[in-house]
Symmetry: D2
Subunit: 477 residues, 4 copies
């Protein structure tokens, strides 16, 4: 069995073994669903076995969670913050192991694996302070002896469904804020990264138990579409969080493009997919990039020096091959890469395509390290190309011209939710709000006032006088 | 023809005549759709004629509006605020005429008609100051020589579809904010209140023209479902605003209940529909109310002393009669009222029903002056009844107990968006955010940070140094 | 007598005559102090006579003001906003006359005179919206059944002492905000601009009286140091507002420098006094400037085309002459100007001085159109020179380099309260906070959250439960 | 020597010995000032010896601190937050020892000693999140192609001078915020609590050194008035923080009054000094209190059950005795207590005085467990008495009447900075702003937007276009 191997020994340090119950429901570990194996994308060999959730497990979990919600929302917010602080400390103490597991099971390189867990820790630290700042407002009333309050109250339960590409960061953005806001969390991780789901949950569970709080405050399940759909349709869960998709650049320096297009093997929703180059620099920048691309080390993500690990699943590899065919059929020319690598692992070549901005395929998302190089003549044309796709998550410009910087972030500039200048499209900080516009959906996670999405707002007006004046000076009866 | 009558002479003061083009598109008044008559609900006789919009009118309007949007969003926000200030002043100078028209065409009593126009004026005043406060944020970055900005940019075009019950207040909430935010407005008023739509638009149009701005910044159309649907489905309009629905009380003073249940003939979305009375005061309060109800003066809304005008249309009157039948079939007992009043006008009796909180009909909205009296034993039971309906707009408690006040506005209290204490459910001030939770939808209009719904948010990160540090301390390549 | 002249006839349009009572105390115009003449700085001939306040007038005013404060602070903030809106409208209707008077009595050119009154009107518009946004906060408490509120309450009375150089803008910044915040205002204008004080006050008084409010809400007095000192020492006035001083540029375009150094005859506290030029552009920019300076039209500020009016008083003219002597004695070289102009008026030549940045005189403020040209080699050196003076009000950089822009506004950049890029040092918008650091004092007026300076803050904690938990989990007794 | 005693053995766990260098300057422990002994207030016997700072030590410290400030302000704020997080963790690991030391050296009971250190830890946790939220604003400009920013930059160095009564909490409020804001801290603790100063500093120093940061970022000195004055007058320190004083109640429950008047032996600036009782409950409440007071256990603060430890110094004891004489001479009647307790320690009896509200002594602060009982007839009279003293820090009302609650926190209510309802005057949470009005000074520490006091504000306007429009539409030249 996978985890008996020497290289898997570290899994026991974070509570995992060769056979694992995949669901923490009502404060207990159990599982009555399918028995599945989780695979190493480097060779598609099993790492360990996991028992997924049945619908009965789900229902037990939800009932306990509903009960726990009534208690949790009455715990003062700063006390909830202290619990999240302890969760952050628990993760910090296991940072290297968790990063290693993430790299092993998902396939991203180790630096990215550790960086992703660090992001959850950053979110915990951020949420602790936030727990004393979930402020409503006292608003002056137009009526004497009246006070208006804007209050923020918890929603109750927040569902979080995460994908394989960021199996713990997205949980972090949602759960840290949801918890300090007074909500219980119901988490379903990706079906292909169950060990991360279990390892993270074990650390959270320990903190809850040590503080004599119901484990159901954090309910987690491994499973596939069936459980995902149950969460989505469940009326007891007022908010379910997913995540988004896509975008751009102008005169990028080679290092940025490299990280933005090859990082996480092109499987980030902020991966750079379209590279817009001004005609005056097109040839020169492309030449630099082709040189860099040829030096990219492909291989085991846990090995030092590797920049490009495997895609997550064999299906991803097949999709890549199909995608390249479609690209060619629409006039795309492969400048470098373009082929899957033979063998057991899910490896593909980092690829650059020369193509017209109008080709349909450019407006879709291949979720692989494929970069389209596009040529433009004016700033306005570049913005138009940037805004011509349905997705609206992330975008970058590289320029030293202040006029273009401020136009780019202004009303006639990029229409994305993330608008960068001289940095890659990917790699957002948690202090800002993360999310996109247009087809990507207008929701926001992580920093700024994203916490408001996890609460319900009440506009309260209190009359503490003895008269009944009406607003707008109406006289009635 | 209606408006030739002496009582309708005042209409010429606000630019109306017996025959009116109903659409202001591309800065011109035109109309190629149906010719319709608008009726006085007191007697269902025509007041004047209006030519509605055809789909061709609509398309001309939208094209001009799209063009105007590019210009308008580049006008500095404080300058946009100055335009809205002038609109407010224009409305202020015609306040009495507009209030009178509103009363005439919609059927609410004069005090309410004038109050509603005043609310639009208040919104204009509010939006002027707001135009200098549409603030984004400068957020500390974790990377040296980086600055994070949260920018708010206009959406482009905001569609507003309003209903007969608040034919101008809802326009005011949306248009004032949308305009200072840098958006053009496309407004379709209710098909049964076209004169108000036209009169309001004429005043706005004058201001735009006087300032040499394209009239298409404010595009308005009279019409029915066809135009409404065109707006809703139009991809050029990123935000379309509608409005919501219902709720409660405990130990209300008779005057509050009267205003909240009988005001606007029960046709507000914040109308009080359910009256929860503690068993210890049930009989006494009900007796007071029955006395008040019997003294309510029913009649022409323009007449002094009238408290209850007609329902808006003959259909509303029929719905009332059907509703009373359903109520009776579910065990409801009519304590007072319950009958439509014979004659040409759309008058009905103000009605109080004694019924179980569990009856299905209690969870629906009749949109007529019908009040359900419900008995409860404990604070917790009352909150549970309050929260048991799918709607979540407005709710009030009447109490002098501070413990109950703070519980009522807290996590286990009312689940509505508007949570009042010792004031009626209706009659919100504009300084707070207006909107509901649950089936009512989570959107907000008017004050607080509702303006954010009219803009798109960009999280901008600017690297002004010469290095490329990555977030979460990742080292790549 | 002055105001009988034809050119002074317009004064009657704003309530002024040849002999005026200078004090509005307790809602009445009166005066028992000195009889003074106000002079036209173009020729030092009297315009009109004014009776200043005695200490008895002052005391009567303060007593009435104290009484009025109790009433005014209980008027709901949005109603107070409506009063300020009416004040703005009153000023708007007399904009041209007021601007003309300001130009006549103070000596700045007409475009600036009208611009200054416009600024007060802008402040009124801004304050109206603000009156619904004087928000406190609801802060999550660490204790169950507790709520923390941050409330903002009025201070009571705000004293405003203004100087001759901005005789109404500074009143506008303070009074508009102070009034919506719920404070009464006690204003003493400059002894040399009493007509502006009286004209402004008449318009405010009319609004108060029309709304049946006590005139003492706005108390105004003409007078000199005695009254100023009375205000400053009066314990009944918790806040007295004055205004500040000085600063810079780098590679300024000629037009900016011209406005910043010659505008208002160099008598703004934001006047550009030091011009730092990089050695590579020093000669070229200076040459452009010398050409511009020679074309500056000097003369009657009311005449079209005049760019430089008289200094405000004969004393200012003498100070200018003394200053030039000191400059020369410290090694300064006059490149252009440097002389007072003979005749009755207070005219002087616009002057550019070449001098070392280390000369003591450079660190003082001459309050005349004298510009020091200084040479620098590096960005860091320029910032060091900029920050080397005790004043810290305003500063500008002219550059297209984003790195320098963001360093300039960052922790190691300009240490002023106003930090501009590519615009002059003077001419602030009201939406931002206005004020300086270091010797200039850290107070702020006008926009942003400056309103908080006009209120007292209470941190309120309400226990609505039946237990008495202590903060920090302390167990006592 | 003191710390060789068994009961002092724990001191070595937090880096203390019988002889200690008292100053951490330029990252090194040194001392060239006086050698002093710190005393146990239970018996006035020495605990250990400390070498204070000379002015030479001070100057070395300041020079290093100035250098360190340039570096520290360029560390990104979230990284600074991470340092403060580590400081919090370091304190958490020594919580019990530090609390014990505080109790030993200052004399407050153990529960309060530990609670005070906990407050510093809470501040650290709060400041971590805050480090990503030190947000400036992006403000809409009235000019096209302009952007206004409100930036917050560090002040450089913040001086903190703390008193014996809260020897570490006040440091925590200031230092945690000052550090994340990018300032270095120069701390002088009370001359009578040097061990706490040293122990706290050692933990902070370790964190800085572990992170390879200059120790001078946190500079600490033991010493008396000479060093305090040096800090206050030093122009290199733009902000020096001290702390304030006093207040009230109405129908307080005995437990609240007990904690508020006897806690910390009456040596808090928020200690309850005046107890206002409505005439209808005066006798009854006083009787309860007298019973409670007689049961207060006086003794060693480290002993379980002790509620009243010694005053801090022998001088405090003498002041108490003098104070009682003054009270009597002004008509005060001792209801209980009133005497110092004979022996080595600084113990006094908890005291209740019946006296007129007008007596002068009532308006002063005795800083000992002395409570004045005052009788009133109406709510308005009670508020007037409450507001009649020069101090304005803290005040409480005990009532279940919502009208009185909201009046109490409104414009005509308590004029203190801390306004409580149904909780004692002392024991503030850190999430709110802490500070007073009137003679207490208007500054704020800890939560809300107090962080703004530790930064300088710049209003930045950036012109990124090619035109030069002026504000207020002025046309110049």
């Amino acid at each position: 069995m996978g985890s008996e191997k020497k290289e898997y020994e570290f899994l026991s340090e974070i509570g995992l073994s060769s056979h694992n119950l995949g669901n923490y429901v009502g404060g207990k570990w159990q599982g009555n669903g399918s028995l599945v194996s989780t695979l190493n994308p480097v060779n598609n060999q099993p790492i360990a076995q996991v028992v997924e959730a049945s619908l009965e497990d789900y229902e037990i979990g939800m009932k306990a969670c509903e009960e726990a919600a009534k208690l949790w929302m009455q715990v003062p917010a700063p006390k909830r913050g202290d619990i999240v602080r302890q969760i952050g400390d628990a993760l910090r103490s296991k940072l290297d192991y968790l990063g290693r597991l993430l790299s092993l099971e998902m396939g991203k390189i180790l630096a990215e694996g550790i960086g992703e867990v660090q992001e959850v820790i950053d979110m915990c630290d951020f949420a602790v302070g936030l727990s004393r700042q979930l402020n409503g407002s006292v608003i002056p009333s137009e009526r004497p002896n009246h006070m208006m309050l804007e209050m923020w109250n918890p929603l109750g339960i927040v569902g979080v469904i995460t994908a394989f590409n960021f199996p713990c960061a997205v949980l972090g953005w949602n759960a840290c804020i949801a918890l300090v806001c007074g909500n219980c969390v119901v988490w379903k991780g990706a079906p292909t990264t169950p060990l991360i789901t279990i390892a993270m949950t074990k650390l959270v569970a320990e903190v809850l138990e040590k503080n004599n709080l119901p484990g159901a405050i954090f309910t987690a399940m491994c499973g596939g579409a069936e459980i995902g759909e149950a969460i989505t349709k469940d009326k007891r869960i007022p908010l379910v969080s997913f995540t988004g998709s896509s975008k751009v650049g102008l005169k990028l320096a080679a290092r940025s493009v490299l990280f933005a297009s090859v990082g996480t093997a092109g499987q980030r929703c902020t991966t750079c997919r379209r590279l817009l180059l001004h005609e005056s620099v097109y040839d020169q920048v492309l030449e630099q990039l082709l040189t860099s691309y040829k030096q990219v080390k492909i291989g085991d993500p846990l090995e030092k020096g590797t920049l490009l690990g495997p895609l997550h699943t064999p299906e991803s590899k097949k999709n890549f091959e199909k995608g390249i065919e479609v690209i060619k059929s629409q006039g795309g020319k492969v400048l470098t890469g373009g082929k899957a690598i033979e063998g057991d692992g899910n490896f593909v070549e980092p690829t650059i395509i020369e193509i017209s901005a109008d080709a349909d395929v450019v407006k879709e998302e291949l979720f692989a390290p494929v970069l389209y190089a596009l040529k433009f003549k004016s700033f306005e044309e570049a913005v138009a190309i940037n805004n011509s796709v349905p997705q609206g998550l992330s975008s970058s410009i590289f320029t030293r011209n202040p006029g273009n910087i401020f136009k780019w972030i202004g009303p006639l500039g990029s229409d994305c939710g993330i608008v960068n200048v001289n940095i890659p499209t990917n790699g957002a900080e948690i202090g800002g709000a993360f999310g996109g516009e247009k087809a990507t959906g207008g929701g926001r996670e992580a920093g700024s006032d994203s916490w408001k999405q996890y609460m319900r707002r009440s506009t309260c007006t209190i009359n503490y006088g003895n008269e009944l004046p009406l607003a707008q000076g109406i006289n009635f009866g």
